[in-house]
């Protein structure tokens, strides 16, 4: 009986203690690792902040108060972090699995950690960009390059590597692409298009492979999703050279001390393993090197604006160690604006980006695209913002487009993107050639239908079919077409759907066919030979 009472007492303590203990410990704020785990101070990962809802009659009857309290207790009870770490450790030790980040951290065959997004791209679980989407991306890059070049601002594109594509042999079998699909090739195809168009591009993938062949450790640590700053050094150097070539001014040259191997991670090196929130942290070996400037090369010269994702942070780390740039403005996923060396961080209103101040007055603009994210949402926003921002003072006026009356509704915009809905099964638009009749015309855009499944064709004025797609509700289809040179001052394109526009609904009382987003038209003229690409050879 005594033993049973003791055991029941332990169970009762486990249930009754967490909340009173929470209040007691929060009042006393003890220090130490045990206190951190009891008070949930050191859990790793970004969560949406929860809001405390005050108790009022309204919040009680609509249930928001109860939801808030339930969430509060669930996220704050004493010992929650201890429970999470111990449970994760048991799962990890037995099954090599974690529930963290919606199970998005996957262990490779050799213990390397991968993030699910990159695996999904590599395996083809996410739809890969097709030829039209790559052409559209290349066209947008060319248009942007031309717009910035006309303002004297060099524009460089850098492709960064995906860990999954970098170490395909480490990927578990279930995430290997089927034989009919093969490995992703968008990086090579975009490289080819940009080379043909003469747009400066730094192939970070090739450079990182070269760097890894020289370094004592892999370019990506087993415990992280990003490349190491040491591995990113070659790419950082190549970007400087590309900007230098395009801007005709000398910039810093980097130098790298002999790398050392330690057990201490550097910056993002262990971001995935920390996200696992284990009781016993995973360890790997990490590269450390001192990155500086070559003797005699300029210090803190030039203002760089760079747009990209998290892979930029390693480039920033390299440049800041070398004191390469006078100022860096980093648009993180085009949603956060950070500056270096004086570190500031502000949210970005994508509809009100200061293109004149942040881009047109920069000494160089760099766009970083990871090879696994050619169709990221932030890229769409960036291009839409660029089109709006640079269109205010069009050095290169866009060709006029006339939409057939009655076939289209008027243009709509959310302040960033522009679109038109079609009103009929057959909808024409006419593009002026703007005096560039001697050159072929590139026309591109994206189409979407929200409720109607339809086959959509795009016909030339002679009736020949230029493009066809099967529109699935909610999924974009891109088109990028090359209209041959013509003596006619205009070119007419006809959209033909096999379905009548969807009947009016509650949200929109108009019959709607499909929406045409972000239409661009550009003479197919390669960029200047001055902006030749730097060769991906050598290194730091």
């Amino acid at each position: 009986m005594r033993r049973q009472t003791f055991l029941i007492g332990l169970i009762a303590l486990l249930l009754a203690a967490p909340l009173p203990a929470l209040f007691l410990l929060e009042a006393t704020q003890p220090k130490g690792a045990w206190a951190d785990w009891l008070l949930n101070r050191t859990l790793v990962g970004v969560t949406l902040p929860s809001q405390n809802t005050p108790f009022t009659a309204r919040t009680w009857f609509d249930g928001s108060f109860q939801l808030s309290v339930t969430k509060w207790v669930g996220e704050r009870f004493c010992g929650r972090e201890l429970c999470i770490r111990l449970y994760n450790q048991v799962l990890w030790s037995l099954c090599r699995k974690s529930y963290m980040a919606a199970e998005s951290v996957v262990t490779g065959t050799d213990g390397r950690l991968f993030e699910m997004n990159y695996l999904a791209h590599y395996a083809g679980l996410d739809l890969r960009p097709n030829r039209h989407e790559l052409d559209l991306l290349a066209l947008r890059l060319r248009l942007l390059h031309r717009q910035l070049a006309a303002r004297g601002v060099p524009f460089v594109v850098v492709i960064t590597p995906s860990k999954a594509a970098f170490y395909p042999d480490s990927i578990p079998t279930r995430y290997q692409p089927p034989a009919t699909l093969g490995r992703p090739l968008e990086h090579e195809r975009l490289h080819e298009r940009l080379s043909r168009d003469g747009i400066p591009m730094v192939d970070g993938v090739a450079l990182t492979h070269l760097a890894e062949s020289r370094l004592p450790l892999p370019a990506f640590p087993a415990t992280g999703t990003h490349w190491t700053p040491v591995a990113a050094g070659d790419t950082a150097e190549a970007i400087l050279r590309a900007c230098e070539l395009a801007s005709h001014q000398s910039l810093a040259r980097l130098s790298l001390s002999p790398p050392q191997v330690t057990n201490e991670p550097n910056g993002f090196d262990d971001d995935l393993s920390r996200l696992l929130n284990l009781a016993v942290p995973l360890r790997d070996r990490y590269l450390h090197a001192s990155i500086g400037r070559a003797e005699g090369s300029p210090r803190r010269k030039g203002q760089l604006t760079i747009v990209g994702g998290s892979f930029v942070y390693q480039l920033l780390s390299v440049w800041e160690q070398a004191e390469a740039w006078e100022q860096i403005r980093f648009f993180y996923y085009f949603g956060q604006r950070e500056t270096y060396p004086t570190v500031t961080s502000t949210n970005v209103d994508r509809r009100r980006v200061d293109w004149e101040g942040d881009f047109c007055h920069a000494d160089a603009v760099v766009l970083e695209i990871n090879e696994a994210a050619f169709t990221g949402e932030h890229l769409e926003a960036f291009f839409a913002s660029a089109q709006a921002g640079l269109a205010k003072d069009p050095i290169i006026p866009p060709p006029g487009v006339t939409f057939a009356p009655g076939a289209w509704y008027r243009e709509e915009s959310d302040g960033l993107r522009r679109w038109r809905w079609s009103a009929l099964r057959t909808s024409d638009l006419t593009i002026e050639r703007n005096g560039s009749a001697a050159a072929p015309l590139l026309v591109a855009g994206r189409i979407i239908s929200y409720s109607l499944r339809q086959t959509l064709r795009l016909l030339a004025s002679d009736g020949s079919e230029l493009w066809r797609t099967q529109l699935e509700p909610g999924r974009y289809s891109a088109f990028c077409l090359r209209l041959p040179a013509s003596s006619a001052p205009t070119s007419t394109l006809r959209f033909v759907s096999d379905a009548e526009p969807a009947p009016p609904g509650k949200k929109d009382t108009r019959p709607l066919g499909f929406a045409l987003f972000d239409l661009v038209a550009e003479p197919d003229i390669p960029c200047s030979a001055d902006t030749a690409l730097p060769s991906p050879t050598g290194g730091l």
């Binding site: 029941i8 009754a16 970004v46 949406l48 669930g74 999470i84 699995k97 919606a102 996200l275």
Partner: protein, 472 residues
């Protein structure tokens, strides 16, 4: 609030139990207040409907008992049944019915857009509350038991929180004496706690684990659904629904035991059933009892012709299917079970004797699992896709994305062992020796302590949805 939520485990349960032990003279009042608070937490608006309906039933119950007029007594039962079914019909079936009428009108050529789309939030536990209130009135009419002596006892019967969310469905006469005379003894607290934690473990560690696999499979589009995924998904859902539902019943029975109430069992190894008749004697026993007592028998049961009996069976299970949810798939599930029960009566119970027992069990499990596919699927199209995938192993899916991770595999294995271990021949003797083992209570409590630690780890981890960094 759910039994596996932190707020229930760390706030409601310890607080209630501490007061319950400290204040024995006011236990019913305390339990009623806690039960009303428990329900109001989830349904702050509907609780007023439920209370009003319970008040009506309480007075109708007394009227039934006091009246000597058969007409008045019948009238009171009818009013009560109509009021309760009206409540259920409005909140659960109005939107579905209107949608069905609209679809039919459209099929017949009428303008279906004229019909409004009704979306009414379904109050939690409305099905259970309504059924229990109907049993109270009907039992009084039949002379089974006495009316509640006071409103507090009746409301406590209706809103007793352990069985409120997911049953078991209990009759007032079954707990009448316990409402007024019960004691909280150590052995009940111990057994109840073990039962509660066992049910919590089944729900959190087994059901929720295999649910991930089931959800992944049922969400696959046609091109990615192959035979192995389909079979795994079907098995996973069969285990999920059993451990989820029986786990909740265990928790309800365990909590009631801790509070001094003894409830009847609601599950009795249903996947060891040898036919569908046997299955419904083992699965959700309180529901099948209710169907028999308050639907099947009043319809005539098997007292009429064979055709009438079969019709009554099918009707009962069609309604049972609809009771589970307002959707055509639930209806189809009910129809299937009705047909299988009819087949049992017609020929199967005699014919199956030729099969060995294991074969009967395996066949019943397979057929029940197939019915769960329809039960779980969002619509007939997705149910059909999965059923077709089950029987077409030669169709490849690209790319294969369903992976049974080691922890899910472990949960599936443990689940299958728990379900089918009683088939082993040493099992009865093992159970008997275990029951007589002097260290059994300590062993069970120690095991539950470990189980609780694992459950808390899972609950804590499930509540932490963190990502690498914030992406727009």
């Amino acid at each position: 609030m759910l039994f596996n939520s932190a707020i229930f485990l760390f706030a409601f349960l310890p607080g209630l139990f501490a007061l319950y032990l400290a204040w024995p003279s006011r236990r019913n009042l305390l339990l009623l207040a806690a039960s009303l608070a428990f329900y109001a937490w989830a349904e702050p608006v509907f609780i007023f409907w439920a209370l009003g309906s319970a008040l009506l039933d309480y007075f109708l119950g007394h009227a039934i008992v006091r009246s000597t007029s058969e007409r008045v007594r019948r009238g009171c039962v009818a009013i009560g049944a109509i009021a309760n079914l009206g409540l259920l019909g409005w909140f659960k079936y109005a939107g579905f019915t209107l949608g069905a009428v609209s679809s039919l009108a459209g099929w017949l050529g009428a303008d279906s857009s004229r019909f409004p789309v009704l979306r009414i939030a379904l109050p939690i536990a409305v099905s259970f509350i309504v059924f229990e209130k109907i049993t109270y009135l009907v039992d009084l009419y039949r002379g089974n038991g006495r009316p509640a002596p006071n409103l507090r006892s009746y409301l406590l019967y209706v809103f007793l929180f352990p069985k409120l969310l997911a049953g078991p469905i209990i009759r007032y006469c079954d707990i009448e004496s316990q409402l007024t005379q019960r004691a909280v003894v150590f052995s009940d607290v111990r057994e109840g706690l073990v039962r509660f934690l066992y049910g919590l473990g089944k729900k959190v560690l087994l059901a929720d684990h295999v649910a991930k696999l089931a959800d992944a499979v049922f969400a696959l589009p046609a091109g990615r659904l192959d035979a192995s995924a389909a079979w795994l998904g079907m098995l996973a859902f069969s285990l999920q629904i059993y451990f989820d539902f029986s786990g909740y019943s265990d928790m309800a029975i365990g909590l009631c035991r801790m509070l001094g109430f003894r409830l009847r069992e609601n599950f009795r190894m249903p996947y060891l059933a040898e036919n569908f008749t046997d299955f419904w004697r083992r699965w959700h026993i309180s529901l099948s009892t209710w169907i028999r007592e308050y639907l099947y028998l009043p319809l005539g049961g098997n007292r009429g012709s064979t055709a009438r009996t079969y019709g009554n069976l099918c009707l009962c299970f069609v309604l049972s299917g609809l009771w589970h949810g307002a959707a055509w798939t639930f209806l189809a599930w009910g129809v299937f079970h009705g047909i299988m029960l009819t087949a049992d009566r017609a020929f199967w119970l005699r014919w199956q004797q030729r099969l060995p027992r294991l074969a009967r069990i395996a066949l019943t499990f397979l057929l029940v699992s197939l019915s769960w596919v329809v039960f779980r699927a969002a619509d007939f199209a997705s149910a059909g896709r999965l059923l077709v995938a089950l029987v077409t192993p030669w169709r490849p899916a690209q790319p294969a994305v369903v992976w049974c991770s080691p922890d899910v595999t472990a949960a599936l294995t443990i689940g299958l062992v728990l379900i089918f271990a009683p088939l082993l021949s040493p099992w009865p003797e093992f159970v008997e020796r275990y029951r007589r083992w002097s260290w059994r209570p300590e062993f069970e409590l120690a095991a539950c302590l470990v189980l609780l630690c694992c459950v808390l780890g899972k609950i804590a981890t499930d509540s932490f949805h963190a990502f690498l960094y914030f992406r727009f």
